[in-house]
């Protein structure tokens, strides 16, 4: 199981070494080791229950791992609250169910964290939010409430909300799985722009087209382990492991 970085000049943003995670007696992650470099786009694939969501949720400590080390942007994740708060403001996360705050407007959703975590003045935060909403293509929805938007629009707001903190890493936990088919493209387009802009990204998804087109590297997981890791070309055309071949034969 090799974790080669694609470019030696770039610094490592995420380093995982032998990460173990249990839910009760069930071991969700078994010795996961991987290194993700700056500006790298990594797509994590695998059958459901393979631990891919658990893994990326460990990276900003929504779940706590029990063994091994996770180092994000040079800071090791421990129980120390300050480290966790620091990392969470460096790492943006987009959820499958969007998890927008339904009681405040779209603009407030985006400006909340910059105002209160980054202590940005209100006017500056709003200007930034308007730029971000422009970037994700929904500047006219700023005054609406999340419940008044379509699923695709909500997910794009969620991306803008994460970007408002100016994170160095973005994590995507199945961002298109809860969307209607016609909405998927608009979200994937935003993610592509982000990847081309040089963001370090880790994406758990079932969108093979996106993986093939955008990913620098694909990591395939099963039963809490990393089975295979490589470039999209290698992964889709010439996989080495039998389990990868079986998975590809089922979905392609």
């Amino acid at each position: 199981m090799s974790t080669e970085t694609t470019n030696e000049n770039r610094s490592d943003m995420i380093v995982c070494e032998n990460v173990d995670k249990w839910f009760g007696d069930f071991q969700a992650l078994k010795g996961v080791s991987a290194t993700i470099a700056e500006q790298e786009v990594v797509v994590v694939l695998g059958p459901s229950g393979s631990g891919k969501s658990t893994w990326i949720r460990c990276i900003n400590r929504l779940e706590a791992h029990q063994q091994g080390t996770i180092i994000v942007d040079g800071v090791e994740l421990t129980n120390d609250l300050r480290n966790i708060e620091k990392i969470r403001s460096e790492v943006g996360m987009v959820f499958q169910q969007f998890n927008l705050f339904p009681h405040i407007s779209v603009l407030d959703n985006v400006t909340l964290a910059p105002k209160w975590v980054r202590k940005m003045p209100k006017a500056a935060a709003e200007k930034k939010a308007e730029e971000l909403l422009e970037m994700v293509g929904i500047p006219e929805q700023a005054a609406k409430y999340p419940g008044q938007l379509s699923g695709g629009q909500q997910q794009r707001v969620a991306i803008a909300r994460a970007l408002a903190m100016e994170p160095r890493i973005m994590l995507f936990d199945e961002p298109t799985s809860a969307l209607d088919p016609e909405m998927i493209k608009e979200v994937l387009d935003v993610m592509k722009d982000l990847a081309h802009g040089g963001m370090t990204m880790m994406v758990v998804t079932h969108e093979m087209g996106f993986a093939r087109e955008v990913a620098d590297r694909i990591i395939f997981m099963e039963s809490g382990e990393i089975v295979e890791s490589g470039t999209p070309e290698h992964f889709f055309t010439n996989p080495t492991e039998d389990r990868t071949k079986l998975f590809l034969s089922q979905i392609l």
């Binding site: 403001s89 943006g92 959820f95 998890n99 009681h103 209160w116 419940g147």
Partner: protein, 605 residues
């Protein structure tokens, strides 16, 4: 990126409204069981109304007992020669209301259709009254004519909205409708012979066939004039006013009004201002400025761990003061002890305001306001007497009911929210303490708690520390109500999705920011219906304070009025009036909560 746009395809087709006959057939007589139910309950309802009217209008009823004792029921113990103070306070509120309506430019419109419905309902009510009430045939005819007039007027209004093609008058401003309605009520005091009843120097005065006393109708008229005039004046000059500043000024005045008005109404003629100037004001100023300075330093962004340590040290000191008070080690003013605990709590949340200078100054200003309010409350509630006391508390009647209910609700709400948060928190000590508190309070009847606070608590208090009867009532009731409120809020907290917590964590909010901005607003919105139920319960159960000797409106109607020699044993009239008053207040609260639910439901689809 392509946007899906919704093309408007013409207007929604208008649904043809069914005629009254069709409506009745569809809803009341659609099938045999429905018809039977309609008839049975119709007969039952008519019978009940007839019985009630018979009770009210029976010759045995002595309504003059209620009319004579109206002041007693509203403000027992309040000296009659001081009533002008109450009117001055009310007048201030009226002017403030009028100014606010104008400045905020209340634009509510009342559809004519609604008014016509109300008018027709009144007409139906009058007809029903004419048919069912046990009155003489000639007055029955009078009521029928009144009913027909109302029905015709309402129907005319309804037709005018239906047939009028240009629809010049679909609705009228709610403000003017309300002014007109109130004006009609005030006018009725001048022309309708309600009769004049009073105790003048202990002698019962009962004059039928004339309007109410000048001392009643004149103040009400002045109130109405103040309300309407202040509105009209401001609406004329509104365009020349700096609206933003005017709004800020009015908010400030509303905020000050409870303090000032309470001072106007309850100021003791012999109140000791020397003590206020020599002690109360300096202590408050010290806390505002020294405490504010400490808090300003604690919100310095670069402070880090030192801030938390200082806050904890302050908390330990604040708690220690109470322990010391219990054992009588050193004397300290009660409000100083409370202020130290408040300062410690403020220091604990200070890191959330560690930002630019403006945010920090806002936080310090908030601290000053908190100290002013809390010190005023402690002084006001703990002043053992004002005016001429006629009972254990300086308030009585409906004013006591309102005072206890409003203060209990205001104080128990934050306490209940804190308890609910504590019970659901991940800190084991907080969880155990809050759960223990809630469960033990819920296992004890309210009466027991009231007895405890009025009789037993003073024995436990440190020497030299007194607690006024009313303060004891409000404290006990607040602690009781907070436990129930906490359970309602906890229900709301449980309805907030886990994803909301995760999203708040993922964007880097601290735990208290997550609670304040994300979790609590959503939880409280869900808890509105049970919280309003709780508020109504608190309002109604204030009647239990009678048990520890306070004179609330119910006790006056049930015990005091029937004991007067003029109205010996006259009890039912007062009880009916009291239940109507309770109903009006409780029903208004319930209606308001429905509007509140609609308003905060915004954005949820």
């Amino acid at each position: 990126m392509s946007e899906t746009t919704i093309v408007e395809t013409g207007k929604r087709p208008e649904v043809a409204s069914s005629s009254p006959g069709e409506w009745i057939r569809k809803n009341l007589f659609s099938n045999i069981p429905n018809t039977i139910l309609t008839i049975v309950f119709g007969v039952f309802a008519l019978y009940a109304i007839r019985g009630l009217l018979g009770f009210i209008l029976s010759g045995e009823r002595r309504w003059e007992a209620v009319a004579t004792n109206m002041r007693l029921l509203m403000a027992q113990g309040y000296p009659a020669n001081q009533f002008v103070r109450v009117w001055v306070a009310l007048g201030c509120l009226m002017v403030l209301t009028g100014l606010s309506l104008a400045i905020w430019n209340a634009k509510g419109q009342l559809p004519i259709k609604k008014i016509s419905n109300w008018t027709m309902n009144i007409g139906f009510g009058l007809m029903l009254f004419a048919v069912l009430a046990p009155i003489s045939p000639s007055s029955r005819l009078g009521w029928v004519i009144a009913g027909v007039l109302f029905l015709t007027f309402g129907f005319g209004l309804w037709m005018s909205t239906k047939n009028n093609q240009n629809r010049t008058l679909d609705s009228i401003p709610t403000v003017w409708f309300s002014f007109g309605f109130l004006g009609t009520l005030v006018l009725s005091l001048w022309i309708v012979p309600f009769g004049h009843y009073a105790f003048t120097n202990g002698e019962l005065v009962a004059e039928t066939g004339r309007t109410v006393a000048m001392s009643t109708k004149l103040p009400f008229t002045v109130m109405w004039v103040l309300l309407v005039c202040s509105y009209c004046v401001i609406i004329r000059v509104r365009d020349y006013l700096p609206t933003g500043q005017a709004k800020a000024l009015l908010v400030g005045l509303w905020f000050l009004s409870p303090f000032v008005l309470n001072w106007i109404v309850l100021r003791d003629p012999d109140f000791d201002y020397g003590h206020v100037i020599s002690t109360d004001v300096p202590v408050a100023a010290l806390f505002i400025f020294a405490g504010g300075g400490i808090l300003y330093l604690l919100t310095k962004p670069s402070l880090g761990e030192l801030g938390r340590l200082t806050a904890i040290a302050l908390l330990i000191f604040g708690v220690f003061n109470w322990v010391a008070a219990f054992f009588g080690w050193y004397p300290m003013l009660q409000k100083v002890r409370i202020s130290f605990v408040l300062l410690a709590l403020a220091a604990l949340i200070a890191p959330n305001f560690a930002a630019d200078r403006r945010t920090r100054l806002k936080f310090v200003t908030g601290w000053g306001v908190l100290i002013v309010i809390s010190h005023w409350l402690i002084t006001a509630v703990n002043s053992p007497s004002t005016l001429e006391l006629q009972g254990p508390t300086y308030l009585g009647g409906f004013s006591l009911t309102l005072f206890v209910a409003v203060l209990t609700l205001l104080l128990s709400f934050p306490l209940g929210v804190l308890l609910a948060l504590g019970r659901t928190s991940s800190m084991p000590i907080a969880r155990v303490l809050c759960t223990g508190y809630i469960e033990s309070i819920r296992g004890v009847p309210l009466i027991t708690i009231l007895f405890f606070f009025s009789n037993i608590l003073p024995l436990f208090l440190p020497q030299g520390m007194e607690i006024a009867e009313l303060a004891a009532i409000v404290t006990g009731y607040t602690l009781f109500s907070a436990a129930y409120l906490a359970e309602n809020v906890r229900g709301g907290l449980q309805s907030v999705m886990r994803g909301q917590y995760e999203a708040a964590d993922a964007i880097g909010l601290t735990t208290s920011q997550r609670t304040g901005f994300i979790v609590l607003p959503q939880a409280l919105r869900v808890s509105i219906p049970p919280l309003v139920g709780q508020a109504i319960g608190v309002f109604k159960e204030t009647s239990l304070v009678a048990i520890i000797g306070a004179y609330d409106i119910l006790r006056i109607a049930n015990n005091v009025v029937p004991a007067q020699t003029e109205f010996l044993g006259v009890k039912r009239e007062g009880l009916l009036l009291v239940s109507v008053i309770y109903f009006i207040v409780a029903f208004s609260m319930s209606k308001y909560s429905q509007r509140l639910e609609e308003r905060v439901g915004l954005g949820e689809r």
